[in-house]
């Protein structure tokens, strides 16, 4: 009997300590593929060392707004790492999959890294594009995605708008006219950042691409630094891509702990290094200093300062009938 008990105990312990394989789904936006490929490997090693469990993270990428809608429609993301807070707010408001105060769950409003919008120009900058006002000059062809569908495009639009507000002493009418002239120079609107990069870099269209900073660096890496240059304007916007655990999904999958750790680890030294190496600006000051050469200094305005937060910016500029709809005329 004692032997049987011991054997049973041994079996119980053996099965009890058996490593588990945990699966996570990270629903993200277009340009983060490379970042999370590297980060997922690092986190899996970290989690294995810490708990003995294997964690396999699947990635889903697309336009930020579209990805948010997919989660609302039932895509069972454990975590979302999207381009802007408004999209996660939409998941919270429409599907109630995570609390309204999701942004308070992690440091820095749940934005472990930041980015900005820069100009990718053809090698040698033949059109001498240095600042936002160069984009509105007649004959300049600007490539940027559609802000109605792309998170990065919304940041780009707001960066240009912020420049115009500063330039015209916050005269909103002049700022709108500036934006109208800028989008008059846009020959084609892609639905996402990756598509716009294809338009500019592969299809050879346009003089300048308004791109995420990391996407611009990736284009240099992928297509060759002998073909393009990055121009960082003196002023741009502080883009803060947020992350959040999709609480209800994670709870249902039993992955709340690992999903939370997955996002928390983005703030670790290793997570911040990976972000910096992929040309996202790290929050950690030490890591930021270490990779300072990767990032040109510029004046960064915030959406809260210039536009009163995402909800306000969305309603004013990107909602149906908003400023963008008013100023944009599709090219004939």
């Amino acid at each position: 009997m004692k032997t049987l008990f011991s054997f049973s105990l041994l079996l119980t312990l053996a099965f009890g300590i058996q490593a588990k394989e945990i699966k996570l789904l990270n629903v993200s936006y277009d340009p983060t593929r490379e970042l999370y490929q590297e980060y997922n490997d690092a986190f899996a090693k970290y989690w294995k060392a810490k708990t003995g469990d294997d964690v396999v993270v699947s990635q889903s990428h697309g336009g930020s707004g579209k990805q948010a809608q997919s989660v609302i429609n039932g895509l069972e993301a454990d975590v979302v790492t999207l381009a802007l807070a408004y999209d996660i707010d939409a998941i919270s408001a429409q599907a109630r999959l995570l609390p309204v105060d999701w942004s308070t769950k992690l440091p820095d409003h749940s934005t472990p890294y930041t980015s900005t919008i820069v100009f990718l120009v053809r090698k040698g900058n033949p059109r001498n594009i240095q600042n936002w006002d160069d984009l509105v000059k007649p004959g300049i062809s600007v490539v940027v995605p559609n802000p109605k569908t792309s998170g990065g495009a919304r940041w780009a639009y707001l960066a240009a708008y912020a420049y115009a507000l500063e330039t015209f002493n916050h005269d909103d009418a002049k700022a709108r006219d500036f934006i109208r002239r800028l989008y008059k120079n846009v020959p084609v609107l892609d639905s996402g950042a990756r598509g716009a990069t294809v338009t500019f870099a592969q299809r050879g269209i346009g003089d300048v691409l308004l791109a995420w900073e990391n996407e611009a660096h990736l284009a240099l890496k992928e297509f060759g630094s002998d073909k393009f240059d990055i121009v960082t304007p003196p002023l741009s916007i502080l883009a803060e891509p947020p992350v959040a655990v999709v609480a209800k999904n994670a709870r249902r999958h039993g992955t709340t702990a690992v999903a939370t750790a997955y996002l928390e680890y983005l703030y670790s030294d290793e997570g911040q290094e990976i972000a910096a190496k992929n040309f996202y600006r790290p929050r950690n000051a030490v890591i930021a200093a270490k990779y300072a050469a990767n990032f040109t200094s510029l004046k960064l305005v915030t959406i809260d300062q210039e536009f009163g937060g995402w909800a306000n910016a969305q309603a004013t500029h990107f909602a149906d009938g908003g400023v963008f709809d008013q100023i944009f005329q599709p090219p004939n």
Partner: protein, 508 residues
């Protein structure tokens, strides 16, 4: 554009070079020519050399001019280059815009609802098919012609709208099915089916609402697929539609299926259904069915299915829980309980069943026992007597045009179309059935032996013409004879029933 100056330059250089080589040779030749005649000749040679030198200088100047011309900006090409570049950009933009439009169209097609109209009805579904709405229906227009002595009561010959059912069904959120089927046929309008089904896993589904109680094989067969206009006698001992909830599923692709549920309870043969409970008693109903060779390579046995269904319930002392009567193929009542009789206690049924289909041949058989405690008259509830009524049937068919027969009907290989000379499918069917009422029903005073038969035996033959998957015309002849029930001579059981049926059916 630059090829002309280049060629001119090459020509000039070649000419100059040629002269430079040629002139010394000419000079040498002239100095050694035997025919030369002194100073006059030297003067003319000098003049010739001078002339040639001048020509060389002219040519050199032309070469310089050409070289200069080539190095200088070309007005025409300089003007054309931006225009070409601009044109190139426009072409690229148009091509890219076309790509984007195609991507958008593809993306929109993926999310666009799908609409279809087919033999399965009118269907609208979301692009991911998680949401489906389907409208279909059944319409059966029958005729019944009773034969025999008109002095003896019989059924009424004539046309009737046997079934007229619009069916609304569909799925929401991928896993939740619904069905709503009103019945406008017959003389009353009723809700026939109204249920919800959760089907996350085919092997584990939960269905709740009003639907067919899972017992009888022929009863569970779709109305559009039965071989004859009316089901055979065993179906009248088994529950019909009822309100309840059941767990059901198909395992291994339908090799094994099961259903188990709890329902309000249903009397034997009750063509008019109700939407609420008749009493506090509840019926526990279940059925298992296996097609053991369905997925094997033993083709002759793939269409073999066997199973059994049953129910158990406890009835209160209510007359409404007794059958309103058993009927013939012509839907004439040949047995009914006395008005004083009540259901009083347990009521169980069991029905072994099976079918076999192989090519155009089909066979379906079913046996049913309905055992019910009955009280009334001098029999109190406490001493209620169990009456065991039994029935069985065997029916077979042969599709003359060669199509496969099946539990789910016949699909014509060549739907009726006079333009192509196609006639659809023809099926010959035959059936024999028997229903035997427990003799205690008569000996203990629960039924009147003068007006109710104790046994009915029916045979029928018919011809089914499947014009296509949706449209069917059939005719059949049914003969039923009885044991007992003709004491007064003025009942339907006084002589055999002979009926000719026809039907025009649309089922989609």
């Amino acid at each position: 554009m630059s090829t002309v100056p280049t060629k001119l330059k090459q020509l000039a250089i070649a000419t100059v070079a040629g002269l430079q080589f040629t002139l010394p040779a000419v000079a040498a030749d002239t100095s050694t020519t035997p025919s030369d005649n002194g100073s006059g000749s030297s003067a003319s040679q000098a003049a010739e050399i001078e002339a040639l030198k001048q020509e060389v200088q002219v040519l050199a100047q032309k070469v310089d001019a050409l070289e200069h011309q080539q190095q200088a900006p070309q007005p025409a090409p300089a003007a054309a280059s931006p225009a070409i570049a601009d044109l190139d950009q426009k072409v690229r933009i148009l091509e890219r815009q076309r790509e984007i439009d195609q991507e958008d169209a593809t993306a929109q097609a993926k999310t666009r609802p799908k609409i279809s109209l087919s033999q399965n009805g009118f269907t609208i579904s979301s692009a991911d098919t998680n949401f489906v709405a389907n409208f279909h229906g059944v319409l059966q227009v029958d005729s019944r012609s009773f034969f025999g002595n008109t002095a003896i009561p019989s059924g009424t010959s004539g046309f009737l709208l046997r079934r007229a059912r619009p069916i609304f069904s569909g799925t929401v959120f991928q896993d939740y099915d619904f069905n709503f089927t009103p019945e406008f046929g017959g003389s009353t309008v009723q809700i026939l089916d109204a249920y919800l089904n959760y089907h996350y896993d085919p092997a584990f589904q939960i269905q709740a609402g009003k639907f067919k109680s899972p017992v009888g094989l022929e009863q569970l067969q779709a109305d559009v697929n039965t071989s004859f206009n009316e089901r055979a006698l065993p179906s009248y001992l088994l529950p019909y539609r009822d309100v309840g909830v059941e767990l059901h599923g198909d395992l291994d692709g339908g090799v094994f299926s099961y259903a188990a549920g709890i329902f309000n309870g249903s009397p034997d043969y009750n063509n008019t259904t109700v939407n609420s409970a008749l009493s506090n008693g509840k019926a526990f109903v279940g059925r298992v069915f296996a097609q053991p060779f369905k997925s094997t390579s033993v083709i002759p046995l793939q269409g073999l299915g066997v199973g059994t269904g049953g129910s158990y319930e406890h009835d209160d002392a209510l007359a409404s829980e007794l059958t309103p009567g058993y009927v013939t193929d012509g839907q004439e009542k040949f047995f009914s309980y006395a008005s004083t009789a009540t259901a009083a206690g347990t009521h169980w049924r069991i029905s072994p069943q099976g079918y076999y289909y192989y090519g155009p041949f089909g066979l379906l058989g079913e046996y049913a026992i309905s055992d019910q405690k009955v009280a009334g008259g001098t029999v109190t509830k406490g001493s209620a007597i169990g009456l065991e009524n039994t029935a069985w049937e065997i029916s077979g068919g042969w599709v003359l045009t060669g199509e496969d027969a099946g539990y789910n009907g016949v699909t014509p290989l060549h739907p009726f179309d006079l333009r192509n000379g196609d006639w659809g499918a023809l099926q010959l069917v035959a059936r024999y059935a028997d229903l035997d009422v427990d003799h205690k029903a008569f000996t203990d005073g629960f039924a009147n032996p003068n007006t109710s038969a104790s046994e009915a035996r029916a045979w029928a033959v018919g011809l089914n013409w499947y014009l296509n998957r949706n449209f069917r015309i059939n005719t059949s002849f049914s003969h039923t004879d009885f044991t007992g029930g003709h004491g007064t001579g003025a009942t339907v059981t006084a002589r055999p029933e002979d009926v000719l049926f026809t039907r025009i059916q649309l089922g989609f």
